[in-house]
Symmetry: C2
Subunit: 144 residues, 2 copies
């Protein structure tokens, strides 16, 4: 028995409005849940991408009507990677440029995987990478 995937991936940001604009407008993710000042959640593929305000989520949740969750919260630049298709690499470069998002690094890995690194408004190191980077088949391609 082992987990059969990752369901939630989180980064932290003090300015949740800026984070929402970035992940919705630049990356095209759909907001599924928002609690002003605490978090904004996005659907992404077979999972969800969570952005939390760390100064709020480190405190026990005590608002009436909410189910408390264990406290958590980080400072500093986190890291995560979204999956992109190989056919979309150029389009992502253009999309990031059109939104004034600098590509901090672009890497073609020895195995043919391709990564674009950039920063979200909170300074997190965000990557768009082709699943080939990890020897993972891009099983969504045939759905296009």
């Amino acid at each position: 028995m082992q987990p059969h995937g990752i369901l939630e991936t989180a980064v932290y940001a003090q300015d949740l409005d800026a984070a929402e604009r970035f992940y919705a407008d630049v990356l095209g993710l759909t907001v599924i849940l928002r609690e002003a000042g605490r978090h904004v959640f996005f659907r992404c593929g077979a999972g969800v991408f969570l952005v939390f305000h760390p100064a709020i989520t480190v405190q026990p949740l005590t608002q009436p009507g909410h189910i408390a969750v264990p406290p958590h919260g980080t400072t500093g630049a986190g890291h995560m990677a979204f999956a992109m298709r190989e056919s979309e690499i150029a389009a992502w470069r253009e999309r990031l440029a059109a939104h004034g998002v600098a590509i901090e690094q672009e890497t073609v890995w020895p195995n043919g995987g391709h990564s674009l690194y950039f920063r979200d408004p909170a300074g997190n190191s965000i990557e768009l990478a082709t699943p080939r980077l990890w020897g993972i088949e891009d099983n969504t391609i045939e759905k296009e």
Copy 2:
């Protein structure tokens, strides 16, 4: 155009050996890459789960023979969730107990989703959750 999934999910831990024992022995993940003192990576479903030593990854990578990546690193308790099957909830409870891992919180959500929360050795808030929590079909069940 939007990312078609999350490819990499990261948490941070200063004691990577303890992290590796936890994620390999307790959660059953398979190590795919290890650099002593810097990181240990695991395969998980259609993505990878990364554990980094934040004091190392915040520094620019300068070792010869390595492709540098942008610096990142956090302190404090991060959060992420692994996907579990509904049929496995009891088995996960038993597995955690057998390894002396306390369940910090168990929640059945109004929509029927089910979460087990516990801490990794670094204090990160780790969750095992059924995809129903996010209205996501568990499309791996038929593969069993």
